[in-house]
């Protein structure tokens, strides 16, 4: 039999753990999928949060005043008077009386033919842009109108804002809940697979143990092996979710998804910790499993 030359001087120690087996492939797949779901949830959550913030900011910085003309006044005259009065209130950036046409246009969707309104004293609207830094309060606006003897109601969108904020809160907590659940599932899968992987190499662990390897030494071998595997899976899953987020960002420019789910490029950074977190979870699970296996042998 021909012998391959073996050069003792060039020998390098081989890996103490056997190479990867079929199980490793499915572990990487499952962890990658779970990481993908976790990161996608995080990106969606961040975008939803941004959407809610945007809406409340818009509503916070504006108010609508419904002006009812008193006897002897034209609706437009009353609106103009109210706009003038409100423009002087501190915290109001701009006050505009909506013209008749605009007011009617707002009613059209509900009434259809607005010609019937011609003779009716249709209330006029005054829209206010508030100073975003120190918006005028509802009370100060109402007081000013009263002082000027104008019959009007101010709507500072408080009800809407409260609704949106409540909705955003629910969305935020449920996203967080889903994220935590998926992450916990990923961690459990990693821990489970690590345990199975270790049990399959029990014979190796036993030989190392009986040859005087400390439990920390043996645990370290498995720790690194599984950390590397989970990092790879986390990289795949995180990158997949980031690519999906990038597609949503590019597809949604202006219209489409953007107003509902305004994904920002920065949100994609949620994928960055994925490989590291997966690796840390795997390392801890592998360490715990290896230590308990070695403890069984002692």
């Amino acid at each position: 039999m021909a012998l391959m030359g073996f050069d003792v001087a060039r020998w390098r120690p081989g890996p103490l753990l056997p190479g990867s087996d079929a199980r490793d492939g499915s572990l990487i797949f499952v962890v990658a999928v779970l990481t993908f779901l976790a990161v996608a949830t995080a990106i969606t959550g961040l975008a939803a949060d941004r959407a809610a913030r945007g809406w409340t900011a818009q509503l916070n910085h504006s108010a609508t005043v419904v002006v009812r003309p008193s006897a002897g006044e034209t609706p437009d005259g009353a609106a103009a008077k109210a706009a003038d009065a409100l423009a002087g209130v501190k915290g109001v950036a701009e006050a505009r009386a909506l013209e008749k046409e605009k007011a009617e246009a707002l009613l059209k969707p509900w009434l259809g033919d607005t010609s019937i309104l011609a003779d009716l004293p249709v209330p006029r609207l005054v829209t206010l842009d508030l100073d975003p830094k120190a918006p005028a309060s509802l009370a100060s606006l109402t007081a000013k109108l009263k002082e000027q003897g104008i019959d009007a109601t101010v709507d500072d969108h408080r009800l809407w804002i409260a609704d949106i904020e409540r909705g955003a809160r629910v969305a935020r907590w449920s996203m967080l809940g889903v994220f935590v659940l998926i992450s916990a599932a990923a961690a459990a899968v990693i821990a489970f697979a690590t345990r199975a992987g270790l049990a399959a190499r029990r014979d190796v662990v036993e030989v190392l143990h009986l040859s005087g390897a400390s439990s920390g030494f043996t645990a370290g071998l498995f720790q690194w092996r599984f950390a590397r595997m989970a990092a790879l899976a986390g990289l795949f899953g995180g990158a997949g979710a980031a690519i999906l987020g990038a597609l949503a960002r590019m597809a949604g420019g202006g219209a489409g998804l953007t107003p509902v789910l305004p994904v920002a490029w920065i949100d994609l950074a949620a994928a960055i910790p994925a490989p590291f977190v997966a690796a840390i979870v795997a390392a801890l699970a592998a360490r715990a499993a290896a230590l308990s296996l070695v403890r069984e042998m002692a």
């Binding site: 391959m4 390098r12 890996p15 056997p18 005087g212 390897a213």
Partner: protein
Amino acid sequence: MRYGRAPEVLNNINFQLMPGSFHFVTGASGAGKSSLLKMIYLAHRASRGRVSLFGRDISTVPGRDLPFLRRRIGVVFQEFRLLDHLSAFDNVALPLRIAGKKANDYRQDVAELLRWVGLGERMQAEPPTLSGGEKQRLAIARAVINRPDVLLADEPTGNVDPAMSLRILRLFVELNRMGTTILIASHDEDLVANSGRPVLHLDSGRLIALGDAQGNLHGEAG
């Protein structure tokens, strides 16, 4: 000692091996030879009684010190327990790596020992490709490479021819001369007789001392 909840497989065992001594353990199959060795190489605890190693009562040794005791014991397992994914060379180097030695300090020793046990041409072979006798010689090489203070060998000549068996005995004698305490479990009556060494005879888990072993017997374990 006992396995799980099964009845005790060893009892009434009471002996002491002096440092530098050389004993055989004999007995019928199932008498408890391997079990006795397992207790000494710290793979199994005694269910009662006391086991002392290197002057220390094992039950009082803290867990973190046990690996260091194990490194002073070389074991030839009855079923070899070679690592199938590693080459013969790597298998022999294993105890040295675990002990934290540097490859450059031991690679020539490993090669020399492999040549000595007749595996000079099979250094790169993985254990599954070796014959029974080759595996046995590899297991012996791994057990002695780190110059253990105590060598425990379970049927170390069960798979080799008489010539190789004598050669292995000579290796053990050589190690013993350099100070290694040796305990060999064996069925090989010729080998035991040839060696002229004292014999601990087990009968159904009980120790019946034979030959000139009496002088050294002390201590107890169950």
